[in-house]
Each structure stands twice: as C-alpha cells, then as structure tokens.
C-alpha cells in the first residue's frame, strides 16, 4: 500500500502541474477519475469544489488548503451544503478532474438545474467572503493592523493595489 500511495502522490503532483487551461470550458459529463477508483465522500467533494471554484492558483496551494480547512470547520459555512445536499455536492464534484485549482470557466448548460443552482450559490458564497475578496483584490489580510494608515488612498497600479 505504501508504494502505491507514493506513486499516487507523484501522479497527483504531475496532474496538478498541468495547465489549468486543460480543464476549462470542458463538457462536464461525470468525470471518471483514473487515479481514484472510489467515490469521494461528501466532505471531500465539497473540499474539491472550493478549491476549483476559488481564486487560488497552484502556487497558492498552501493558502488554498488553509482556507478550505477553515471553511470546513465551521457549521455556518457547510450547513447549506452538507448534509442537506450531499448527493448534489458529490455529483457536481464528480464532473471535474481531481486536483484542479482556480478553474477559469464552467459551461452551465451542461449541468442539471439543481447542480447549477448549487454551483451558483457556492460561487456567490465564496466570493462574498472577506478572505476571498481580499485575495482577489490583493488587499492585506483583514484584521491585521497596518503600518501605513493611508493605504486606502493609494492608486492601484496595473489594476492591482
């Protein structure tokens, strides 16, 4: 088993290093993982969805994992999804390749209505959270005092602050 795990990890790393573009705009039929023979649990599926919908690229994996850990530990975050919509979460997650971060776009018409609703609710939820907003707006971490209290007066350079 140990040897198998090592090979799996190596393969996952290789998969993660593939350009995100390879998984964008895809026809979202249920994805049969070549790596995992088993179905992901609802929690694993939710984790997978957060990672692929969120804004973190492969170089931010550690930050992304930290976010997922905090998201999953709080009842108020997971209540809309688990256990009430466990099957939907699993089904939606199964349409995407494993290990993907920051997917670029999703063709909605290929999704069943319920999964589309779940997806949109999750996107709205994630991108309304201060943590995610700060990440995409390139704001300093929320709640930490700054040495520059005129930070808010600065012009964003090339669209970034």
């Amino acid at each position: 088993m140990k040897n198998y795990d090592l090979k799996r990890r190596q393969f996952l790393r290789l998969l993660m290093s593939l350009p995100v573009g390879l998984v964008i705009g895809c026809d979202l039929r249920p994805y049969e993982s070549l790596v995992y023979a088993r179905t992901l649990t609802p929690e694993e599926s939710l984790r997978k969805l957060i990672l692929l919908l969120g804004p973190w690229s492969a170089t931010d994996r550690e930050k992304a994992e930290d976010f997922v850990r905090r998201f999953l530990r709080a009842k108020h975050n997971i209540d809309p999804y688990l256990p009430v919509s466990s099957e939907l979460v699993q089904s939606l997650a199964s349409r995407f390749p494993d290990g993907t971060l920051a997917i670029k776009e999703i063709v909605l018409q290929s999704l069943p209505t319920k999964e589309k609703e779940l997806l949109m609710n999750m996107v709205k939820h994630l991108y309304s959270l201060i943590d995610v907003r700060s990440e995409v707006s390139e704001w300093p971490p929320w709640g930490e005092c700054l040495t520059d209290e005129t930070w808010h007066t600065r012009a964003p350079v090339l669209g970034k602050i």
């Binding site: 998201f71 776009e105 709205k124 209290e149 808010h152 669209g159 602050i161």
Partner: protein
Amino acid sequence: MYGDAMTGEIKADYCIAGAGIAGIVLASKLAASGKKLVILEQGPRFAEEERDNMLFDSKQTLNDLADYNDNVEPGVVTPHTSASHGDQVAEWVAQRLFGLGGTALHWMGFSLRPLEDDLKFKTLYGFGRDWPIPYAELEPWLLRAEHEIGVAGNEDNPYASKRSGPFPMPAHAFSYFDREMFKPALKRLGIVGHSCPLAVNSKLYRGRSACMACRACKFCPSGARYSPDRAHVPILEKIPNVMVLENISLRRLETGAKGNRIAAAHAMRVKDRTSLVVRAKHFILALGGVETPRMLMLSADKDIHKDGLGNSGGQLGRRFSDHTNPFVTCDVGRHVGGRLGFETMISEHFRAQKDRREQPSFVIFGSPAIDWIPIADDAAMWAIRDDTLSLEALRGIIPQIATLWVMTELEGEGTLKLDNSKLDAFGSPVAKITMKLTDWDRRAHAKLVKLAPRIGEAMGAENVSEVTPPEFGLGFHPSGATAMAKSPDEGVCDTNLKVFGLDNLHLVSNSVFPQMGPNPPTLTIVALALRLGAHLEGGVAP
C-alpha cells in the same frame, strides 16, 4: 456605603440602568459630583482578550458576521425583537448588543449631526413632530459630544447646520475611490461629496491610538474607534463613588405610594436569578430605543400608572421610527482601491433638499465594497456570458465593486407594545414593534432606484444592481417611542428628559427623539446624555 450588593439591596444617589454609550457618558459626567452612583447592565463585560479571540475566531471560521453576543448565554439577551410591516418581518438579530458598552461595542463610529430643520420638522413640513428644544440649544452639546468621544471630521460639508467650534481632530484622508471615482461622479450630478465625521481617531486622541487600517472595526484591535467600555468605563471604575455592575437585569421600576416618584429598581442577577433592589434619589433609564419604552410599560402599576410610566397622554410606544438602509453594488470597471472599515466620503446633499415635504431626506454613502454586503450575489451573475460562468471574469469584477447605500428617514408611524405571547428568560413580555411605511417613506426608495444608476453611470459603471432590500428594511436605529415634548399629550418626557408625572425618573436614549432625521443617532444621544448630566447637577450650560 452602598448597602450590600451581595445581600440584595443597594442605596445610591443615582441609579442608571443601561451601560451603553448614553448611560456610560452620563455616568462619567455625574461621577465628578462625588455622589453615589450605580450602573446596572444586563449583559456581560468583554475583556480585551475576548475581543482578540472573537476576531481570531471570526477569521478561523470565516465568519464575517461574528459579533459580541454570539456566545452570550441566551438568558442574558432579551429574545430577538422583530419589527413587522404587513406580512414583512425584519429581525434585530445582533444589531443591538447587551454588555458594558452596549451597541456602541460594535458601532461603526458614524457621528453625523442633525440639521437645524430636523428639529422643527412639523413646523416646516406640516407633519411629524417638532423637538421641544431648538437647534441652537442642542448645538453646543453636539460639539461637546464630538470632543467627548473623539470625532474626526473636516468643516467641508456645505449642507451642515452652523457649528460653534471645530472638530477635535481632522477627518480621515479620502480613499482612492473617493478621490478618483465617487467625488467626480457626484460633482457631475451637482452633488458635493465631503468628509464623513467618524468617532474613529485620525490621530492619537486622549491616549487612544490613531486608526491603523486593520478594517475589522467591529473589534477595532487598535482601539481607535470609540467604545464606552474602553474609553470611559476604566476611568469610571477608578472613582470610589461609582459602582458598575454587569449581568444585572432590571426587571421593573416601583413607584412610591403617592405615585410621583420611583421608590426602587427591582433587578435580577443573570447568573443565579437572585434579586437585587436599588433605592436611589434619581433613576435614569438608558436602555436604548426598544428597551427604554419596554421598561416603562413593564413598570405599569395598578394605580395612576396603570398604562405604563409617563403614559398619561397615551404617547408611550407611539410614533416608533427607524432608518432604512437600502443599497446597490456597482461594477465600476476598474480596481476601486482599498477600503478602511468605514466610508471616508459621504454626501448630505439630499438632506438639504427643499422638497422634504414631498419625500424623505437621506444621506448617501459610497465606498469600495462593504464587508457585510454579499457582493458576489450580483457579481456572479454579471460574470455569466452565453450560459458560461467565467470565474476568471468574476475574479476581475470583485476588485471593481463599489457599494452605494443611503440612510433614509421615516415618517415614524410605527408602534411599540408588549408582546404577551413571547416572554424573555425572566418571564416578561418582549417588545412587539409594528412598522407602517407611508407613501412618503416609500418615495426615498423610489428616489434611490432612479439615482443609483445615474451615480453608477457617472462613475463609468458597467453594471449596477437592483436596490436591496426591495421595500421594507430596518436601519437598526430604533427611536421615538418615549419622545421628549412640552406636554404629556405630545410625548413621554419633558425638555430635560424627566418623565412626565415622575419627579425622579429621567430617560436618555434615541427613544426620546421626537423626530429622527437621516443621520445616525449616536452623536445626538451623547449630546443629550451630557446635557442631562449638567441638568441633574445644577443646570450648567456648556
């Protein structure tokens, strides 16, 4: 000196119920007299360490709405009060807080003044109520209040009424958004954007830090935002004649045999439900816009106050009012820059309008997207093209989102009564609030529906959301149900905030406002607390 708080009876000169901003500021003024003073607060005391933990936990659990009363035992907090308008119900959930500091534990620090016209509303517009005191009498107390809590502001507001002195410190610098997008857009529409007065230090003030831009204002790690428990309570507790008691719930006031004085305040210890009686020369209710009228109702006796204290004219609970805060989000098409935890620019243009007889006045606030608004609700829809959700586009839109919101006045046709079907943890009925939106009230919403796209367009916005909420919402500034007036036929307390018919009971909260303009009420509450303190100690003018 006080009797024994452990055995159940306390004697004092002043008994103040409520340790929010009104009660604490008033106590600070009365404490200098050397007289015995006891302050009762139903909620707990929040130590600095607890504040740190709340901030830490909110980050650790991604709970952007975390607040002070989240983990307070249910018996401490009066059950949530809701207000209804027809079949629409709005809840006060965490908006009013119980604890040393009250709702000012988490307020944003907006410290706008009333306008002169707000105080003579009925005279000018033919409906609503006038204040029984003129602006000229209130103004020096507003100035003193600005110094008491530390308000940062500039005298750049062309719509403001006359001031008799400068702000104690300069306003916060305008944000990039204010300077480059909001102000020019307002200017194109003939509106002046100006600084927003805030009780958030722009420099070191009375030993408290300047704002350090952490943006978590609710918990304010730097201490720059005024909070009563940080600024005034530590000083009060060093004074030997002052006793501040938390976790004590006032249950009712007892009238004396002749019915013209309060003889005692009956309270209960929250932790063990044992009773405590306070006998004092003066009683002051400083319980906020809902609990102050509720306490006067709960204290009804079987004699001349059978309809509640101060209710000989039938005015108790009448003309309850609030603000509404509808908002929109806009995608302005370019990065809006950074946001402190508060707006640095606002406009009071629509307060000074001349058609107030036709529609309510309001204040407009604009800034990069506010934390508590679910901005992705609309942004995600704007990122859909040809049935494809572009998350890449959404990640580009989020930094471009600005929020515009207004604080609008209401005519004040609500009522507050006791709800005998719903009891608090001590068995007393909670408040039942029924709002009644008038056609006049609705016109402010209609105005924003037209105005928001125009401001958005002037900023170059590609998308502007619908106005939220669609019609009925609350601003969480309950007011008006124990109005100050010249006679009992018009209100509950007189111009010195003494309850009609009771010689030793005073009120201080936004419930005494006869009419509330569209400015947040806090600065006016502090001004009235300072004025009451001077009155009780001999009528010293500011």
